[in-house]
């Protein structure tokens, strides 16, 4: 069923996360992923937009197939990034999964209103966190048909 996620065409995942500890954990968790992924990291909102717009130092980067987005980011806040992505005609089709510590109903509702595809609260314990990354892998990267953009 899937033609991507093989060694030839890895899935490009952009992780927007400011905590290096969480980045490393995510990388560790994806190591056991069923599919082959390239994990790109942006550590603040501005860098995330540069990456997506292929600007600045990120001119040659691939277009992500999936974005994992934290809400609380320095410089440009994750909510702003979400809004910009979903307003852009070229970027809006990329599924965005909010992956954040906030469990507030307000944040959840607001994210969906801004057209986030999914919202996940980071579990506080390690095992929980690993489980979550695993399910992102088994759903988004295995079951879901991801849109490939105008120029992948």
């Amino acid at each position: 069923m899937k033609t991507i996620g093989t060694d030839a065409t890895p899935i490009e995942v952009l992780l927007v996360e400011d905590s290096p500890g969480d980045v490393r954990l995510t990388r560790e968790a994806f190591k056991d992923a069923k599919v082959h992924i390239n994990l790109h990291v942006a550590s603040d909102g501005a860098e995330a937009m540069d990456f997506l717009n292929r600007e600045g130092t990120h001119s040659g980067v691939p277009r992500p197939d999936l974005i994992l987005l934290d809400l609380n980011l320095p410089k440009k806040d994750g909510r702003e990034v979400l809004e910009e992505i979903k307003k852009s005609p070229t970027l809006k089709t990329i599924p965005v999964v909010i992956l954040t510590t906030s469990a507030s109903d307000a944040d959840i509702l607001r994210s969906y209103s801004l057209h986030a595809n999914s919202y996940i609260t980071k579990p506080v314990d390690l095992d929980g966190f690993l489980e979550v990354v695993k399910s992102i892998d088994s759903f988004w990267l295995s079951v879901v048909k991801l849109p490939r953009g105008p120029n992948s």
Binding site: S19, G21, D22, L25, E28, T101, K122, V124, D125, L126, D127, F129
Partner: protein, 540 residues
């Protein structure tokens, strides 16, 4: 300071206007004029009466007497040309002490002090009066009992139609009485806790008390006769001065009884907030206004202070709230890192490290987990009772049922039996009430003894109209020395190994209840069980 009809002339007399005698004169003049007329008529009638007959005379005399008797504050009587007393009214009886039958026929000179009689003063007065017209004077008089008093007296000659002298009328008033009333009024004015100022219809100050002198920093002389605008620049004079569209009386009537907030100005120019209470005085000279002036800088300050304090408290509360939220939120992340990586270490190097390392890692991870729990609870505590929803009538039975549904698992596992009486509808946030029930019933089940836990919930109204709920159990019970401590945040009576939990449940209940004006307490006996009570105020 409301003086009415009877004392009307008194008030007029004590007014210190620029020309005091004028006012007295005005009052006396009008009454005098009336009486003169009457006297004349009476004399004329007396003459005619002889012609008309005793009957008619009696009638007119009767009428005359009634009229005169209706004026008890004034001695009014008639004498013949030699000074022999012909008539006598109730006022004369009261003031001079003689009854009519005792005095009629006697000469009026008996009212004078001995010295005056020897000097021939009484005759002199009559002579002057006959020659020059109405004679007024103030002089000492003697009562029947010998006591002397200062009187204000007016003599008027009475003539017949031909101009022949027929006699005199005397119209007199006991000034000591007047002075007494005056003194009494002044006494009251001086004794008043507030500054008192009496103002006439033109806005001039006619009277003030010593407090007013102190408040405004003026001496009496400096203020009497001055425009009241000197001490109350705005708002008072306008209310008093008739503006042509309505009379001063009407203007005043609208203000009576209401406290008016204005600004007072002292001699040194400084201003301060005042409250005026006005009351009218009627006088022959027109409406006078007595104003009680109260310095309300203290009250204004304390009202402002109160608003400020409440504002500060709210701000402080909001800050605490925010702090608790941010602290717990921001503390989570580094904590997660420590917990996660410690666990990762354990996993990754399992079997490759010695048993000490395993143990150390276990302690570290455990510490992190507990800290995580505390932070979550702290967050929950800071949020408890703050989702200010509008209180409305809710069924407390429904709230209890919700709590029991949430406790389903622990009820099933322990085999607990939870019963309740019928519970009332009250004004309370249902979620918070349910939270309280859940904590109390949950505790009742958790801290059970050897027997199957039995929990009973009931409610009743006490003398203060509060609804008092009770949750009774047959569990472990609580040592009385801890009755207060258990409601303190994170205070526990058992170790973590005995019962899980962080000691937040009762603290949350207390916070939630106290926020709505309620309270919570416990009665208990070790080994027998506990009853937790909570009361919700009236209006619930």
């Amino acid at each position: 300071m409301n003086t009415r009809a009877k004392e009307m002339p008194v008030t007029a007399d004590i007014v210190e206007s620029k020309r005091p005698e004028e006012t007295v004169e005005e009052v006396l003049a009008s009454s005098k004029a009336q009486l003169e007329q009457l006297a004349e008529t009476h004399l004329a009638q007396m003459e005619e009466g002889r012609r008309l007959g005793e009957h008619a005379l009696q009638e007119s005399e009767e009428r005359y007497r009634l009229l005169l008797d209706g004026i008890p504050d004034y001695a009014i009587f008639m004498m013949d040309a030699q000074g022999r007393i012909l008539s006598w009214n109730a006022g004369a009886e009261r003031i001079k002490g003689y009854r009519a039958d005792e005095i009629i026929g006697h000469n009026f000179s008996c009212f004078f002090p001995q010295k005056e009689i020897e000097r021939g003063r009484p005759e002199e007065i009559l002579r002057m009066c006959a020659a020059n017209g109405p004679h007024e004077e103030q002089g000492m008089r003697v009562r029947k009992d010998g006591s002397q008093f200062m009187a204000s007296v007016t003599f008027t000659a009475l003539r017949d139609r031909s101009g022949n002298l027929k006699g005199f009328s005397e119209f007199s008033h006991d000034l000591s009485e007047r002075r007494e009333s005056e003194a009494r009024y002044r006494g009251l004015l001086e004794a008043a806790p507030d500054a008192m100022v009496v103002v006439n219809a033109s806005g001039e100050i006619v009277l003030l008390n010593v407090r007013a002198e102190k408040e405004f920093g003026y001496s009496r002389d400096e203020l009497v006769g001055q425009d009241v605008m000197n001490i109350i620049p705005e708002g008072f004079a306008e209310r008093i001065i008739a503006d042509g569209t309505r009379s001063a009386a009407e203007a005043l009537a609208q203000q009576i009884g209401t406290g008016i907030e204005l600004v007072g100005r002292r001699k040194d120019g400084s201003e301060f907030p005042i409250e005026l209470m006005l009351s009218p005085l009627e006088s022959a000279g027109g409406i006078l206004v007595t104003a009680a002036i109260r310095d309300i800088s203290g009250r204004k300050n304390s009202a402002e202070h109160l608003v400020k304090t409440v504002g500060e408290l709210k701000r402080s509360n909001d800050e605490l709230q925010q702090f608790a939220y941010v602290a717990s939120h921001d503390l989570q992340e580094p904590l997660r890192m420590v917990a996660s990586y410690t666990q990762l270490l354990g996993k990754r190097y399992k079997g490759r490290l010695d048993s000490d390392a395993d143990e150390f890692i276990a302690f570290a991870v455990d510490g992190c987990n507990r800290m995580q729990g505390l932070i979550e609870d702290l967050l929950a505590y800071s949020r408890a009772g703050t989702n200010g929803q509008v209180l409305c009538e809710v069924s407390s039975e429904h709230a209890l049922k919700r709590a029991l549904t949430n406790l389903k698992t622990s009820i099933e596992q322990s085999g607990a039996v939870v019963t309740h009486d019928s519970l009332p509808s009250i004004r309370m946030d249902e979620t918070q009430l349910s939270q309280v029930f859940q904590n109390l019933v949950g505790n009742a089940i958790k801290y059970r003894g050897a027997e199957t836990p039995q929990v009973h919930v009931s409610a009743s109204q006490n003398a203060a109209n509060e609804w008092v709920f009770s949750v009774k159990d047959n569990g472990l019970g609580i040592d009385p020395q801890y009755f207060e401590r258990i409601f303190v945040l994170f205070q526990r009576l058992h170790g973590r190994n005995e019962f899980e939990g962080t000691g937040i449940g009762l603290a949350i209940c207390k916070k939630v209840l106290e926020r709505v004006g309620g309270r919570i307490w416990v009665e208990s006996e070790l080994k027998l069980g506990s009853t937790f009570y909570f009361a919700l105020p009236e209006g619930a």
